[in-house]
């Protein structure tokens, strides 16, 4: 079981209500994926820009790590978990 680095810019539909950002869906290349669960979240505040990280489970069953950069308001798919 290992994290495979993706580091891809992605388009995300997210909920920003209540002062908290929660990703709902994202598009990775031709794939449109629905987020069925946010497994955990954390914020890296090293430096002046906060980066919000999310471990999510997509409807495909895969576990991804997504990153939202609060500085330039961009999303990236950082890595995906592979079995084996």
């Amino acid at each position: 079981m290992r994290w495979e680095t993706l580091d891809e810019p992605i388009k995300v539909r997210a909920d920003f209500q209540g002062g908290e950002v929660t990703p709902l869906r994202f598009r990775r290349g031709p794939q449109a994926l629905r987020i069925v669960r946010v497994n955990t979240r954390w914020i890296d505040r090293q430096g002046r820009r906060a980066r919000h990280y999310f471990s999510i489970t997509a409807d495909s069953g895969d576990v991804y790590q997504l990153c939202f950069d609060a500085g330039d308001l961009t999303w990236r798919a950082e890595c995906v978990m592979y079995e084996g």
Binding site: R2, R37, W42, G47, R48
Partner: protein
């Protein structure tokens, strides 16, 4: 969790929830130190990140175990166990390389919640000491307030923490051992000497494996047996630290809880699967480690007085050498120059290197350059202000480092790779935090 709460003086366990918790009388004016320890920290974070790991034996580390989940500990796996032994002890264990920046972010969140409760918080990698003395009027009953913190940490981060409370930091730490995993134990004021007396002598801070072995050979296994020695005898046995041990054996500890402004040292190191002999690759790595160490020093706001390079040869032999640094020069270039000379001096054998790194020590708070009152101040004025007595002068290299820090802050470490580190581009994978190293200790 609440079922693990107990008053260690009476060894009483309550199975009731927090509302029915028998917390006893208020703590009052006695010193109150709360020790917070994150359970199986790195492994717990990995189980949060990947739901498939929950309930399974998880080991985080590379070469040796840095953290093992409680499921893995049932098989005798502990921090420091070599990974080849993990495969033998628990073949189904999942081994994860680990990711220090993620763990740091989780720890910062836990410590931020702790700081909302305590005016003084002293933090370490995965544990913290909170001074709650005199805060009972603010928080209400301290035992309940601490239990509330424990629940909040669980709710907001998903992490379990063990808590121990006592009248001093030593007792609080010792009590936490009884509360792991995920429990809360406390020792009421006045019970310190009796509690400490029952503990194994190796649990006393200041008694490491060597001293413990010596004491065991003398037939001393508990702190009560250690107390048979007078302070003078302990000093004869262990030197000046013997006097400290005599006080600790009575449950006394006077060191206050205080946030550390200046760390003891800053270390960056790596290891290789196969012994490295290529000078270019070694110097590239040394440059990268120097950049990371220097950036950390700037972030913390300290200047080092000494740089030390250490390495382990392929036959396991270790060598190290240090060199004083001019405190005024914070630049990566100066640090790398010194470290490179040290590495050259150390490489006296025709052998590969398995592990090496550098350490900055004798750290002092940096004098911050005085900013101009008005933005229109000329560069010359700014330079004069920066070189005023007591200020660290800003060299061209230091300015360059600052720009590099800002660029990396904004665009990630890979946005700017420079100097000898360029050599690593073709050799190592990288992510937004930098090159992915094979680091035996995730704290570095």
């Amino acid at each position: 969790m609440e079922s693990g709460m107990r008053d260690v003086r009476g060894m009483k366990t309550t199975a009731a929830g927090p509302r029915a918790l028998s917390a006893g009388p208020p703590w009052g004016a006695h010193p109150a130190v709360l020790h917070l320890d994150i359970d199986a920290f790195f492994a717990a974070v990995e189980q949060l990140r990947n739901p498939a790991l929950r309930g399974r034996p998880v080991v985080v580390g590379s070469g040796v175990v840095a953290s093992a989940s409680y499921e893995a500990r049932r098989y005798g796996i502990r921090a420091g166990t070599p990974l080849h032994a993990v495969a033998r002890l628990c073949p189904q264990a999942v081994v994860v390389a680990g990711h220090a920046p993620t763990y740091r972010a989780f720890a910062e969140r836990v410590f931020a919640l702790a700081a909302e409760l305590a005016p003084q918080v002293e933090t370490y990698l995965d544990d913290a000491l909170l001074d709650l003395t005199g805060t009972e009027r603010l928080h209400g009953h301290l035992i309940r307030a601490a239990a509330g913190l424990q629940r909040r940490i669980r709710a907001e981060t998903g992490l379990g923490v063990a808590l121990g409370m006592g009248t001093n930091r030593m007792v609080a730490r010792m009590v936490t051992r009884l509360a792991k995993p995920g429990g809360f134990a406390w020792l009421r004021p006045g019970g310190e000497a009796a509690f400490v007396a029952r503990r194994p002598v190796g649990e006393l801070p200041g008694i490491g494996p060597r001293r413990e072995r010596l004491l065991h050979e003398m037939g001393i296994t508990t702190v009560a047996e250690l107390r048979a020695f007078t302070p003078a005898q302990l000093r004869d046995l262990f030197g000046e630290v013997g006097l400290l041990l005599a006080a600790r054996a009575r449950g006394e500890e006077t060191r206050a809880v205080a946030p550390r402004e200046v760390p003891h040292s800053i270390r960056r190191e790596t290891s290789y699967d196969e012994a490295q002999t290529d000078t270019t690759a070694l110097e590239g790595m040394l440059h990268y480690l120097a950049e990371r160490a220097a950036a950390q020093a700037r972030r913390v706001g300290v200047v080092p007085g000494l740089v030390r390079v250490h390495l382990r040869w392929s036959d396991g032999a270790r060598v190290a050498r240090g060199m004083p640094l001019a405190r005024a020069d914070l630049s990566t270039a100066a640090l790398y120059g010194a470290a490179r000379r040290l590495l050259q001096m150390l490489r006296t054998r025709r052998r590969g290197i398995r592990n090496f790194g550098l350490e900055l020590s004798e750290l002092e708070l940096a004098g911050r350059p005085q900013l101009g009152l008005f933005d229109a101040a000329s560069a010359g004025e700014a330079q004069r202000a920066a070189t005023a007595p007591g200020r660290v002068p800003i060299t061209a290299e230091a300015r360059l480092d600052r720009v590099a820090d800002e660029l990396r802050e904004r665009f990630g470490f890979r946005a700017l790779v420079r100097g000898a580190s360029l050599e690593l581009l073709e050799r190592l994978p990288s992510d937004a935090h930098g090159f992915v190293l094979r680091t035996p200790c995730l704290t570095r």
